[in-house]
Each structure stands twice: as C-alpha cells, then as structure tokens.
Amino acid sequence: MLAWIPLFPLLCFLVNCAWYAFGQAPRGKEKAGALIPGLIASFSIFASFLVSLVLFLKLQGLEPEQRIINQSLYNWFSVANLHVEMAFRLDALSAIFSVFITGVATLIHIYSIGYMSHDATPGKYFAYLNLFCFSMLMLILGASLPILFLGWEGVGLCSYLLIGYWYADTLKASAGKKAFVVNRIGDLGFLLGMFLIFYSFGSLDFEAVRSIVVGTAHGEGTIHGVGQGTITVICTLLFIGCMGKSAQIPLYVWLPDAMAGPTPVSALIHAATMVTSGIYLVSRLNFLYSLSPTAMSIVAITGAVTAFFAATIAIAQTDIKKVLAYSTVSQLGYMFLACGVGAYTAGVFHVITHAFFKALLFLGAGSVIHGMHDEQDILKMGGLKSKMPKTWLTFTVGLLAICGLPPFSGFFSKDEILWQAFSSPSGSVILWLLGAVTAVMTAFYMTRLYSLTFLGTPRFSENRPHTGAKVIPHQSHSFPHDGHGHGQSHESGGVHESPSLMIIPLQVLAVLSFAGGLIGIPHFSWLDHWLETVIPTHHAVSSGTAPAMEWVLMGVSIFGAAVGMIFALKLYSNLDLVSHLKTRFAPIHKLLENKWYVDEIFNFLFIRPIYQLSLALWKGFDVAVIDRLALSLGWMSERTGQTVRVIQTGSLHVYAIMTLLGLIMTVGYLMYGMA
C-alpha cells in the first residue's frame, strides 16, 4: 500500500507522456486542451493524497514506538558490503510530509488546469508535474540515503524541465540551466557526505545508521569508531547539498531566476515542496547533527544570514514573482535557523505553514498575472482590490500569515523559531536579533507588495493593448518573465477575475493558512508530540533565560510585524514620498535592486575563468592536438597511396620484370633459404 503513494504519479506520468506524444503533439497547437491531462494528473495526486491520509490515520492508531510502516519492493543492487533496497519507510516525519505535500500538490494541479488552459503543450506540462511529484514522494518516503538521493536528483531534473518549460525563449532556458547547474554543485556535497556516512557507519539505511549512532553512549570521544570531526564533516557536506536544493547562501542564485517558469510551478516546486527537501534531510538526520555543535552553528548562521540578506533584496524588487522568490529564500533561512539551534520540530512546523501561505501567495500572484494579461511589474499595477476581489481576499490572508500576526499560522511557526533561536542552548541573542529584524523587513516588503498591487489607484490604462507578448518593465535586468501564452480568443483590455478553477484552490489554501497553525501552538503542540518518535524533543532552556521571556519575545515579534505593516501601508499610500525617498537613498536602493551584485560577482569569480579555461583547452588542445592527430591518419594513408602509386607504371615490361624478380626471390628461397 505504501508503494502506491509514489506509484500513482509515476503511472500518470507515463499516461500523460503517451497522451502528449501520441494524442496531442500530432494535432498541433490549436487543439491542445489542458483538461484531460490535467484531470489525469490531478486525480493521480489526489489518489496519493488519499492513500497518505489513510496511512497517516493508521499510524495514529498505533502506539508511538510502533509508528513505522516499512515496505521493500526489491533489492536494487548489492555490491560487496553495500546493500541497497528499493524500500520505503513511513514514520511520523515522512507521514506528515507526504500528507501536506500531496494535499498542496493536488490544489496546485487543479489550479494549473485553469492557468495553463491556453498553453500550447499542456500534456507535457502535466507529465512533468507528475514526474516531479513522483520524485518528491520518493525523496520523502525513501528508507535509505540512495533512494532519497534518487528523489533528490529527480526533483532537480523536473525543476530544470519545468523552469525551462518555455524553452524557445533563451532567457528562460538559461534559467533552467542555471537551476540545474547550481543544484549540481550542492549535490556534490551531498554525495560526498553519503560516501562518508557509508565509510564511517557501513550502511546507508536511515534506521541502521540511527540505531548505530543513538545506541552508542553519548559523551564519549568516538561513536562506533567515528570521531567528532568526521561527523562535523559529514553534516557540513550534507548541508552543502541542502544549500543547493533549499537555496541558502551562496547557492541561492537559481531561485529568483527560476521564476521564469509557469507560476503554479513556482508555487509547487519553489515554495512548497522541492525547496523543503533540505529541511527534510536535516530533520531526518537530526541525530547526526545533534552530535556536532559546529555543524549546527554553521546551519544556524547560514540560515539567519540568508534570511536577513534575502529580505533586504526583496525590499527593492519590482517583479511580483521576484519579491515572492526572495521571500521564499528568506523563509527557508528561518527554517534552517530553527534546525541549526536544535528545534527541528519548529523547522518542520514552519515548512508546513510556509507551504500553505507561500503557495497561496504564489497562486494569488499567478491569478493577478493572469488577470493583468501577463503583466508582472507591480509598478504598473494598483487598485486591483475592486477588480479581482476574490484574489484580493485570499492574498490578504496570505499576507497576514507571512507577516506573522496571530491567529494565522505563520505567527505560531515563526514565533516558535524566534523563541528557540533565543533560548536554546545552541542559540544566541544575535541569531534572534537577525531573525527579528528580518521579520520586520518581511512584514514591510510583503505589505509593500500588497499595497502596490491591490490598493490605491490603478496605474495602468483600462484598455490595455492585448499583445500576449511579454511586456518588459523599465527597470529590468535579465528578466525571466512568466509569459503563459494567451490565445487570441481571450477578451482584450479589461482586467478580470480568474476562473473558478483557479479561485477555489486559493480559497482552500487561505483556510489552511488561517487554521494551519493550530497544530503547533506552543506548549500544546500536537506536532511536537507526533514527531517525537523521529525527533526527540528536549525543551531545554539555556541558563539565564527566564521562561517568561517567551511571552515577552512573542509580544516583541507581534509589535514588530505590526509596525512594519503599518509603516508600509502609510508609506505606499503616498507614492510621491516613495519616489522622493528612492532618489534620496539612491545608492542603497540601487544596491538592493541589483541583488547586491551577487550574480555579477559570481560571474567574475567563477564563470569567466572557467569559460576562459575551456576556451583555451578547446583551441589549444582539442583543435590543435587531437584534431590534428585524427586528421593525420587520413593524411598518412593518402601519402602512402601517393608513394606506392609509383609502382603502377602501366608498362608491360615493368610488370614482367617485377614478375621475374618475384620468381628469383621465390626460387632462391626454395633452393637456398632452407639450407
């Protein structure tokens, strides 16, 4: 039964591939319909969701120690001491992940049916989505590191395929390439970590490694012959993999560019699922991380700095999806901050609530883009509150959730992280401060986005020329644009609300964003309890922190969020003041808007030297040496032919003489050679 969870999307991937290859591609663009492949894909994910739910409830009925379902399909390979089975493992952590992933994915699939209704190749799109869900579920349900890595690579592949979905545009294709290459860099770290785990512990199975590590007494110098340093190295290498997949500094650069893909893809992959696989990995291996304070502080510091850094960039962005992308990077930083201070449960909690409200925000943005006929520049929007009321309402819920106002879900999870950052033995005040300032900035830029998009007066003409081509905003750099092609049959000019296929998932997600926090209310946390079998909780509080500090910090964070929101609302209702401030602080604004020039720095430091090297190798070695070598063979045979040609004189006499010579030699050999 467990194997059906990833199997449904795999089967429907094959069905959709067949549908696309045989049914749709021959028929061409005009007859491409999104309904059938979309329904197939959505049903498959919904089926996975139902199975996940059933198994989740089954697990709930069991005793805590027995909350494990294992299923091994077959032996994948066995080499010497390494035995890898195609095995799935459902325990508390993977159960909760699989439920919310399949649930959110179902909603996004349904949304996609509406969003991609005018696209030329929806069959291909839904096939890719199915493949992605299959890989993600393999990642979550894998019982050992190789299976997890299988899913890890699979989601990387699907991310590439889906980001570069409109590959005819070179910018979008490059964005896909960038995502894949940067991911690959992270995967190197992951692989090295995996090798080291096998070398140290002799097995790659989660349960086996866990029993080895946990069974041995703590506090001694080595565990099973493995030193502290090795464990730190393992954890850091695995975290490098997480840096790539979950977009932390320095490997986050692919995520903003990934907005070139269709908006539901951004919602699914880059908000709710793929980017959370890093946190899943760290939580899964929490027993290793807990043994190495160095690795934990690396994780925490990277998370906090990333959160802060990305928030500063988001303040100055003008593309609606870019703001949300940097917001995702920032929130992922929060999650790693939580894991780094030992509060893995808080990290998982934030994963779940973030999935809800970030997916909601992205889908809402998609609805806005759809309604504005492919406009993505928020400076050209405004006043959409009256024109797209349902989208506006759901977006407001998402906004309040991400800013962290009670009783929305984001409040509970973010607050738990900040409290743990402050009070945990591995935490510190500085980490809390970074997190708190980031929270204020988050409230600010999200409200700025909200205000510029929905409030105020419209900054666009009502009857916009309906081109269907991408409208380049005036402050663009390399701008991957989400241009889902509108057919000419769409009514031109008016900004309209989106169809209900797109609105209903928004509404469901809004409800979840509002109520989802209830699973993790501090001190009554159901989630903490549930995950205890996998993540042993310890509510340790570092000395010097009074328990009452928790309420103080809660108040501080609410106050900060409120301040940020009100400030943004006031500021952006007066747009002249905004432009005045922009000119006054022009250098800072320019720096933030250009993303701290990180892409340019990477280009200068890494990409250009490698490019020059490859150019030199190509010209200096491949062309000069190898090509010459290969061509010289042909040249040699030609020269040999020319030389031997001399023998063919065409003269009878010469041939006769040659015969005589041969005769002489033969006779001579026969008569005297044997003597």
Partner: protein, 179 residues
C-alpha cells in the same frame, strides 16, 4: 635411361637455340615468326626422339601449322612486315639487366640439374609394353578417352569460349549512336 642419339640431339638442339635467339633478337617480326617455325620443327624432332610420336605430330600440325599461320596473318594484317626500328630496342640498361638476370637464374638451374639425382622409373608404360599395346598413338588415344575424358571435354569447352572471345574482341564495331 634414355637412348638418345647424341648427334641428332645436338644438331636439333643447337638449331633450336640459334633460331630462338633469332626470334628475340631480330628486328623484323616476319623474321622472328619464321625462326619460330624452325624452332617448332626442331622440337618436334626431339619429341620424336623421345618416343612421343603423337605429340611430335601434333606439334607440327597445331603449332607450326595453325598458330604460326595465325601469327603471320596478324603481322600482315597490321602491316608490321617491315623492320620497325623504334619498336626494337628497350633502353640499354633494361637489356643488360634482363640478360644478366636470365643468365643468373639459368646458371642456378644448371647447377641444380647437374647435381640432382634422378628418381627411379615407377610407371607402367615402358617402351616395350607400349610397343606391345599397339604403339604410342594407340595407347594415348585409349588413355585420352578413358582416364582423361573430363579434361578433354573441358578443353573443348575452352576452345569454344576462345572462339567466341576472339570474335567478340576483334570484330569491327559498327558505328551506332555516338562517335
């Protein structure tokens, strides 16, 4: 042991060698052809001395009588009957080299023949028995149509092919479509 009369043998052998040299050294092709006829006659004589009577007769009939006639026909047809100076000589070095090579190998052959030991006669066709069976021609004819019937038939096919081939190669082609 062969019972060859030395006088006759040396006479015909000498004649043959002299005329063979005329064949390769004379400028006029007709002279070469007639010298060759004399060579064939000498050979026929030597065959007869070696008790190969049928072969001797066939040598004269076929070689001297048919093949040389054909040669003379062709020489006359192509108007080659005058002495052709430029067709005569290869460059000097070729002649020297060729002569030296031939002499050299001839010398080695001579050496080998002189020092070889002759194997004993093992066949059944001793001259007495051939005489008793009715003579050389009789015996050969009987052999031809019993043991050697297959090569005989194949040779007739070969002759047929040669006829067709020489007609096809040598006939004047009609000027058909393009020049």
């Amino acid at each position: 042991m062969i019972a060859l009369n030395p006088y006759f043998f040396y006479f015909f052998a000498g004649l043959a060698i002299a005329c063979a040299l005329f064949v390769v050294l004379k400028k006029n092709p007709v002279a070469s052809a007639f010298s060759l006829v004399v060579v064939f006659f000498s050979f026929a004589a030597i065959y007869a001395m070696l008790e190969a009577h049928l072969i001797a007769a066939l040598q004269i009939l076929v070689y001297a009588g048919a093949i040389m006639v054909l040669f003379i026909f062709v020489i006359m047809l192509l108007n080659q009957d005058g002495p052709s100076l430029d067709l005569n000589r290869s460059p000097l070095y070729a002649r020297i080299l060729g002569g030296a090579a031939c002499l050299g190998i001839f010398a080695s052959f001579l050496f080998a023949f002189k020092n070889a030991t002759l194997i004993t006669a093992t066949g059944l066709f001793t001259p007495e028995r051939i005489e008793a069976a009715g003579g050389n021609t009789q015996v050969i004819s009987e052999l031809m149509f019993s043991e050697y019937i297959l090569p005989f038939e194949l040779t007739s096919v070969l002759l047929l092919a040669a006829i067709v081939a020489s007609v096809a190669v040598a006939k004047r082609k009609r000027m058909e479509s393009e020049p």
